[in-house]
């Protein structure tokens, strides 16, 4: 019974999503080729814009994710900290120290320099 309810809710949500997308498009013709080209002020492209390029903020993004993960470890740590006491503090200290070495290395390599 619960499964059936879940299926009905999911179908309704999916149906509503599709309906919202379909409603404004139902009288719209497929856009012509001129509108599918990128806007270049009257100019034309030689190739598709789908190309490989260097995401220069990528190392910074990786560092951000590393810090996010660190914060996620800190939440369960905060729960057991009262129970474990000093040992938990030391363990977290070691974890942060190792992470800090990584940051110092990245800093030296110029990761934080915006290009």
């Amino acid at each position: 019974m619960e499964l059936l309810t879940l299926v009905i809710i999911l179908s309704l949500a999916l149906g509503a999503g599709l309906l919202i997308q379909w409603l404004p498009q139902r009288h719209q013709p497929i856009p012509p080729y001129s509108q599918r080209a990128p806007f270049l002020g009257g100019g034309t492209p030689d190739t598709h814009a789908w190309n490989r390029y260097h995401i220069r903020y990528y190392p910074m993004t990786l560092l951000l994710i590393a810090f996010e993960m660190e914060m996620m470890f800190m939440y369960p740590w905060a729960v057991v900290f009262v129970e474990k006491g000093m040992m938990a503090v030391m363990e977290m200290g070691m974890f942060l120290a190792i992470l800090s070495v990584g940051i110092v290395y990245a800093w030296r390599e110029g990761v934080f320099r915006w290009q």
Partner: protein, 422 residues
């Protein structure tokens, strides 16, 4: 019911207009920018009306056709001071400037309420290259990268990277002639690698600008220095508006263009300068991007030359200006920041000169040559400087390049003055 309600609302909204400038007209631009009924948009995708001002040269008409077809239906093309492209069925043509805003509002309203047919498309609806059914996967050719999916080849690695040797796919396209970040008419073939400009080849120069009639009159007979200086300040304020609009600082841009329209000799620049400082524009790294050397700057003349340390100004030879104690302002850095500061400095100086000249009712003494806001006009009019970009832009990041272009007045001066605005 719901759709009709939405249509009613859309009909009452500000008219999203994409302007195409066949003739540069600062006064008209200011009027459109300040109108509460019109919204100037930077992409045809957001417009319901394409406004074409002046005659479009034959070489640029293909670009206009492509732009025309990029407006989403329903849309209309409105033509002011020029003949419409022949292929259009029933174009909206305006004879007088004072009918412009009213016509734009009426056209938009009729379009939204379904009382007017959308303008017909000018180009055939077909891909730029044939591709359907060609190749093993129907992608338009042989091999993994050899096809033309949707009629266009994929980007390929063609040139070495300028910055750090990490070579990736280069993207080549033609930009303009009606790209809102460039002066109207300027058309270039650009190759990008990521956000770095690999090469920039100017294909068509920017269309000439029509200056305030007083600069033309100053070459014929003595004119009031107060009026001449106010026209100069107005010109620089509209240039500032363009650059601020590009930077996305709409509020300050609006303030600049509004000041240009109500400018008198007693106007003050302090409020605008304070807003500019608060906006943080001078802290942008792109403002220090590239330094124009003396040779390039002297080719452009005017504020661009003076911002690069050249103390050149025809006003120094005029006895009336000498009696006002005029000395040209100049900076040494030659960067985008220096040119912005030069504009602000020259606007302030022009207002000060106008106040002094108005008190003594002074007129110019020299009539053969005049220092226009674009540069010196002695024997020859200030010429187009678009080709200078080919030299300066390669190696710059996109934001630096666009900020640089906005800080330069590259357009030549047309032989005819601007029409008096209604």
């Amino acid at each position: 019911m719901a759709v009709s309600w939405l249509r009613q609302l859309a009909a009452r909204s500000r008219v999203p207009v994409f302007p195409v400038w066949g003739w540069h007209d600062d006064a008209l631009l200011a009027r459109l920018a300040l109108s509460s009924q019109v919204e100037l948009v930077d992409s045809p995708r957001h417009a319901s009306v394409l406004l074409v001002i002046g005659e479009i040269p034959a070489a640029l008409r293909d670009g206009l056709r492509r732009l025309h077809d990029q407006l989403p239906a329903p849309f209309a093309a409105v033509w002011l001071r020029g003949a419409p492209i022949v292929a259009l069925g029933a174009p909206v043509q305006i004879a007088r400037d004072d009918q412009l805003i009213e016509t734009l509002v009426r056209t938009h309203r009729e379009l939204m309420l379904g009382q007017r047919e959308s303008a017909p498309r000018l180009l055939p609806d077909e891909p730029p290259n044939p591709w359907k059914g060609l190749g093993d996967d129907g992608h338009g050719g042989e091999g993994m990268m050899g096809g033309n999916p949707y009629g266009r080849p994929m980007a390929m690695n063609m040139q070495n990277d300028l910055r750090d040797g990490l070579t990736l796919d280069s993207l080549t396209f033609r930009l303009g002639p009606f790209f809102p970040l460039l002066p109207a008419g300027l058309c270039a073939e650009v190759t990008l690698q990521g956000d770095v400009i690999q090469s920039w080849e100017t294909r068509h120069a920017a269309l000439p600008q029509r200056l305030d009639p007083i600069f033309h009159a100053a070459r014929q007979h003595p004119v009031s220095i107060a009026d001449l200086e106010l026209a100069r300040a107005r010109h620089h304020l509209v240039q500032l508006y363009r650059a601020l609009h590009l930077a996305g600082l709409e509020h300050v841009a609006h303030q600049a263009v509004s000041l240009s329209q109500r400018l008198t000799s007693s106007s003050r620049l302090d409020g605008l300068r304070r807003q500019l400082m608060r906006s943080g524009i001078f802290r942008l790294a792109a403002m220090d991007g590239v330094q124009l050397d003396g040779e390039l700057a002297s080719h452009l003349g005017g504020p661009a030359a003076r911002a690069a340390g050249l103390e050149v100004d025809l006003r120094t030879n005029d006895a009336s200006y000498q009696s006002l104690g005029f000395r040209p302002q100049y900076r040494t850095a030659g960067t985008t920041r220096a040119r912005w500061e030069q504009w602000l400095g020259e606007i302030k100086q022009s207002l000060q000169l106008a106040r002094q000249a108005e008190r003594d009712n002074l007129h110019t003494a020299n009539t053969g040559a005049v220092e226009t806001p674009r540069g010196p006009w002695a024997d020859e009019r200030p010429a187009d400087g678009s080709a200078l970009l080919d030299e300066v832009l390669p190696g710059l990041e996109w934001d630096e390049a666009m900020t640089l272009i906005a800080s330069l007045d590259l357009r030549a001066v047309a032989d005819a003055p601007r029409e008096a605005s209604a």
